[in-house]
Structure formats: C-alpha cells, structure tokens
Symmetry: C2
Subunit: 425 residues, 2 copies
C-alpha cells in the first residue's frame, strides 16, 4: 500500500529552524572572541577557495533570472564576479578585526545602597534577515551576526538561491572548523514565499527582523510581523545652502551629495537654497549637474532665475529618485528650509551648508533625522564612513538603532549588579 | 427640522489627539531645560494647591469602584490620600532636579575622511502610555515625558478618570505658566475602550506605546499595535544559592528578595539551592519564611530535608505569585541552576549568591535576564535604586530599553556630522 506524500508544512519547518536558531544562540552568546574570529577567517578562506563554485552557482541564477526577464538593475545586483567574491572574503576579515562588543561593561558605579550597578553588552539572540538579490548580503550579514554573538536566519531572494547556497556551504565549513554550532547561521534553502510569513510570526524564537529590500517588502513585513523590525524606509535627503554659506563649499557639497552615487539612500534628492544665495550658486551648479547628465526640476522662483529648469511638481518634493534627477527649491531661509524638511523629508539624512554657528547649531538640534550634518555631503551617512566597520542596514526607526546599524545595533545591554550580601531596606 | 446627532467617531477623535501631540512634540524637542524644569515645578505646586480637589475627585472614583465591586487590590492602587498627593508633587520636583538628557553629544570623533561624527540624544517624539487604576502614574509619566522633551498621550483606566482629570488640570496650569504647549501632555477624557485600539494604530503620530498593567492588556496591545511597544511582562525572578555561597549572606538575600515586598515584579518567586548548601541554609530560611507567613512549596529533594513543605508542581516553576508564596528547588550546581532559569524564568531579574569569582562571572555573562546580580537582593531591580531617578516602567524586551526605563529610555540618538566642506570621494 502506498501512502499519499504529505504536503510540505512550511509553518512546522520554520518552527524547526527557529528552535535550532534559539539553541545555537545560547551557545553563540558564550562563544569567545577567538572562536568567533577564527570562524570569520575560516569562512573567508572557504569563500576564496570556493570562488569557482560560487561563480558557477551565480551563473546559474543569472541564467534563470534572464529567462524570467528580471530587470537590469536586479541583474546587476545579482551578478557576482571574481572581484566581488574577493571583496566578500575581505569584508569577513575586516569584521574579524573589529573589537568584540560582547561582554563590555559600561558605567559601573557605586550606588548609595552600596551595590555596584553597570550595563553589560549582550547579543540580541536570534536575528532574521530578509533580503533580495544581492548574494554578498549572505556573507556580510552572517559575519556581523556571528561577531556580535547572535544566531541568524537568512532568507534571500529566490532569484539568488544557488549563489546563496554556495556561500552557505562556505559558512558551514568555517563554523565547523572553529567549533561553533552549524545552526548559528541558517541560510534557508526553501524559496516558498510562506517561509517569510512564518518567520515573522515566531517571537519565541526570533528577536529581531531586518528586512532589506524595496518599500513594499519592508512595509508588509512591518505590518505583519510579531517580531520587532529594524526598518529602513526611504531616503529623501536634503542639502540646504544657507544665506551664510561659503559658496565654494556649498557648490562642492551639493554636487557631491547628488552625483557621487545616484542609487544610494543617502544621495541628496532635493536641494534647498536660501534666496540670497541662489544667484551666486545656482548657475554654476546647473552647469555642473547638466554636464553630469542630471535632470533638474525647479520651483517657480528657481525657474525665474533659470528658465531651462523643468517644473517641479508637489510630488517631486516627496520622491526618492535614486536616479540622476534633482528637485531644487529656493526658500526664505533656515526656518523655511527646516519646515520643508519636516514636511517632505523621510528623516534619513539632511545637511546644512553655513558658516554661522548659531544656525548650524539650530539645524543639528531641530532637524529630526537619523543623520544631521553641517558642511558635509549627505553621502557620508554610511556605516564604514562613521567608523562602525560595517553595516547591516540603515534604520529610519527611532527605537533601538537609528541611522547606520553596525555590530552595536545587533546587541542590547542588560544591567549587572554586584553586592556583598546587600539587601533592600 | 432637526438633524440626528452624529455618532461619536473615536477614530477621528484620536487622529486629532495624535496630530496635536505631533505638533506639540516638535515644540517640546526644542524646549530649553529651564522651561521644562519650570513646568515641572509649576505642576508640582499646582498639585499641592489642588490637593483637596484631587482627593475629592478620587473619592468619587472610589465610590464608583465600590459600586462596581472592583477588587481590593485595585481599590488600594486607586486610592489617594494626602501623603500620596504630596509624594506625587515631590516626584515631579525630583524629576526637575535630574540632568536634562536632551542634546547631549557622545563619542564625537574625527574620521579618516576629516569629518567629525558623534551622536546626539533626542526625544522619541510622541509617547502613548496606557495604564490602569494608579492615578499617580498620570503625574509621574507626564513628568518623565516632559523632561525628556516628548509629547505624551495618557490613557488611564476608566475607574480613575475623575482623579486623572483633576491631575490633568494641574498639569495644564504648569505647562501654561512655563509657556509650553498644553498639548504636550494630553490626558484622554474619554473612557471608550476603542480609544486604545485607535491610539495603537497611529504610527504616523505616535512613536512608542508603553502599556502598564496586567499581562492580558500588554499581550493584546503588543499583538495589535502598529506602533513599537515597550513591554513589561512577568517577573519570575530567582535567587540561586551556590555551593560557594557565604551562608549568612545567602540567608539574608533570600529572605529579603522574597519578603521585603510581595507584589513587585522583582520579588523572588523561586529559590534555587545547591545540594551541598541545602542542609546548611534551608532549615533557618524555612523558620524565617514561616514566621513571615510565607507559604513554601518544595521539590522532592527539598521535601526530603523538610517534610513540612508543600509539594511544588511543574506549574509552580513558571508562576509569578506576587504573593507570600515561594517555590524552592534543590539543584546539582551552577549549570543546573542556569538551566532552570533559562527554562522557567521570564528574563527579568536573577541573582547568584557565591564567593567564587569564576562562577559569579559565568552567571553574569550567561543568564539572559534584564538584570543579573551577584550577592544582592533581586529587589534592587528598580529605576530609583539603579540611579535613573525615576522609571516609566521595566522593560522585558531586548530591543531599545531593557530593564528599568528612565529618561534615557524615552530618548534616542541621532548621528551628527560636522565637516568644513567635506565631500565623499
């Protein structure tokens, strides 16, 4: 007698993944710095040794993606080459060199009762990362979670599944060599969409979800997740050129913030210019942007200065172009600029160019964004530039981590109390 | 012609409350320390001046509660007297004395690119607090949110509505005198249950929800909220008396952790004793607990030592008694104790009594609770004892705030970058 094959139960499968991660997390929380660094080095070596296999797997993903007519930007993010594989290994070695955050005790102080109270940095536990296309996230995210003593469940896009599994094989080798539990990094080998739905409904096994992808993915996950989510929504970033700006610095920063890279979340999308500075800086900037192929959309007043600008509509002020497009608005001054940022910005990164200390001070204090800058390009808003060593993403949330999230964002602090028989009276 | 009275639209009403709070929050974020402290002092004075009105309102609440046959514990929490009103005013003055956390810049460092990067402490924005019975929470929570530059929406229990509105009137006077926006503290005057449901569905206006109440309330809010929640679930706290404990300290701590107050979340609920210590400490502790009227429930091995103990069932190990009841278990040693805590504990507060440094160090590092202690009573796990000045609650979450939550837990940090025309290359 033959029995019908039971349907694959994705909920149950994901519970198993969660249980294994929770058990591994307990082990990882105790893992020594040496073991964690040894694993990172061993994974980096395994990635280097398996470069040919990883590239072959990636070619297979690329062929499927072309068959499925996926768009060019996605194919570009999906594609690995030998440089990208080498960069992945190098990234893991850089994480090994970072100081281990776990176990550090801060602010240990005696209290009037005689007890000493401080805070110890500890891992979050189990991190779930949901991402799309870019296979290097598999290595980066595994490395950061490993170093911060967490277990991680990695759910990449189905279009990158072969590449991700090839990288997962290297991670497994490295963990084994260092004597760390294999389940501390689980790369999901099922592409069933229901796996994501199940993962975000397991608060008993998963401590935080980090979704990396388009706005739709992140909003859906935030809405449905029973696990706390570290969100990264839009980056509608501004540079405001103040009345008291140094025009040369202003032009340099405004040009760099737009053109240094178009597709990043900290690229400037709207340039605000104080009316008294517009005639001084706008013509030169227009020439430079045009030479770089940037499409310019201006408010009415900027079009009075330069009729060749296209018309910026209301929708432009709240659009993240991620492309060589810039909206330009002339404003009365600092307050009008901050009002614009408050109304249309996404609280990601905003900069003022000014030589006036009082105004710079107000901008820093009053603009409610994850990064606020004086006289610097918004393109600096990045984990590497800030000295975090690496980043797992950029948070536009206010709770827990805000801005670029590095190792510290994957940890929390618990209170430690030391007494000598002390009791409360 | 008469028109039908339109039904009260609670969703719309709460949106209005949210909008007002958001506008007030922007003002509060810029409020100077002097203005905030002046408001706290003025509210304290107004509370003192209006003591008679507050007590009269409270008597009205108590009469309704008695009519509705609410239980004694709730009536006790609801009741104010002149001492409690004076303590409320004193609490506000103590918050005024605390350092203002807002605007502090930490870790400002030069990066290789030449920019300076640091982190500035800023308010969360709008805090929603949902609580039951105790009217003093209205004053405490308003004071903490005000000092940390947040706007707050306070939703107390319907049983305390008259008391809360009387306190709200004092808050309004104080805010007005200090020139701060009245909407920075909104005490909801509607007792419609749907108001809570609406409040937790307004992520555009509310940045964090702090529920204070029973497990049912907190779990429901966590499940349904679209706004991040700072949760405080059970406190199933342990003291473990190690083989290497000093018996006198062990007895002192184990007695204090249970009997100093029965109803708090950091009261010990289970006592774990290493088998080699049991004969030395258990008989004396049993005598002391019995004298204090504590009901004792023991594991099989502890009952071999003292047959008068009641039988502890499996359910006892995971029960938060909040009452003069204690479960006692004899374990093999440190590892067995930590396994018990991992399995049955609630990750709130756990203590080890030992003179052995290596074992104390392991307990601190490996027990995954918001407070871990050596040779001190679990009853110290409290914002005042830790030096936070006051607490808005105790978080059993890992993200953002963990353990007692004071002013700092009502803030976040944003990155500040200062350059001099720096661009990214």
């Amino acid at each position: 007698m033959t029995q019908a094959q039971p349907a694959f139960d994705v909920q149950r499968y994901m519970r198993g993944v969660g249980e294994n991660a929770r058990a591994a997390a307990r082990h990882m929380a105790r893992a020594g710095t040496d073991a964690k660094n040894a694993a990172l080095e061993a994974i980096a070596t395994a990635v280097g040794d398996a470069a040919a296999e990883i590239l072959a797997a990636n070619r297979s993903d690329l062929q499927s993606a072309q068959r499925d007519n996926l768009d060019c930007a996605l194919l570009d993010r999906l594609e690995l080459n030998s440089d990208r594989v080498a960069a992945m290994a190098e990234g893991l070695r850089q994480i090994a060199v970072l100081p281990d955050p776990i176990g550090a005790i801060d602010d240990m102080r005696f209290r009037p009762s005689g007890i000493q109270v401080g805070r110890m940095r500890v891992p979050l536990g189990v991190v779930g990362i949901i991402y799309e296309s870019r296979p290097n996230v598999t290595a980066d995210a595994a490395g950061l979670c490993l170093k911060s003593g967490n277990a991680v469940i990695l759910r990449g896009g189905s279009e990158a599944i072969q590449s991700n599994l090839a990288i997962a094989a290297c991670i497994k080798i490295g963990l084994e060599q260092a004597g760390l539990p294999a389940d501390s990094v689980q790369v999901l080998d099922i592409t069933d969409r229901a796996a994501v739905g199940a993962l975000i409904q397991l608060p008993e096994f998963v401590d935080v979800i980090v979704p990396r992808g388009g706005r739709g993915l992140i909003e859906r996950i935030s809405r449905e997740s029973l696990v706390p989510v570290i969100k990264h929504l839009d980056g509608i970033c501004h540079v405001y050129i103040d009345d008291d700006a140094d025009p040369d610095k202003a032009i340099r920063i405004a040009y760099n913030a737009k053109t240094q890279r178009y597709g990043t979340c900290c690229t400037m999308e709207t340039l605000l210019i104080a009316e008294s500075m517009a005639a001084r800086v706008l013509p030169e900037l227009v020439t430079m942007y045009r030479a770089a192929g940037v499409e310019l959309r201006g408010c009415e007043r900027s079009r009075e200065l330069d009729g060749s600008l296209q018309v910026a509509t209301e929708a432009d002020w709240s659009t993240e172009y991620l492309a060589p497009v810039l909206s330009i608005r002339i404003v009365a001054g600092l307050d009008a600029a901050m009002d614009h940022i408050q109304r249309y910005g996404s609280r990601h990164t905003d900069a003022v160019v000014t030589e006036n200390l009082a105004k710079g001070r107000r901008f820093l204090a009053e603009v409610d964004s994850s990064s606020v800058m004086i006289n610097a390009s918004t393109r600096f808003a990045d984990g590497f530039e800030y000295g975090l060593g690496a980043e797992i993403g950029v948070s536009t949330d206010k709770l827990h981590a805000r801005g670029p999230v590095g190792l510290e964002g994957l940890t929390s602090q618990k209170y430690v109390v030391i007494g000598d028989g002390h009791i409360r009276s």
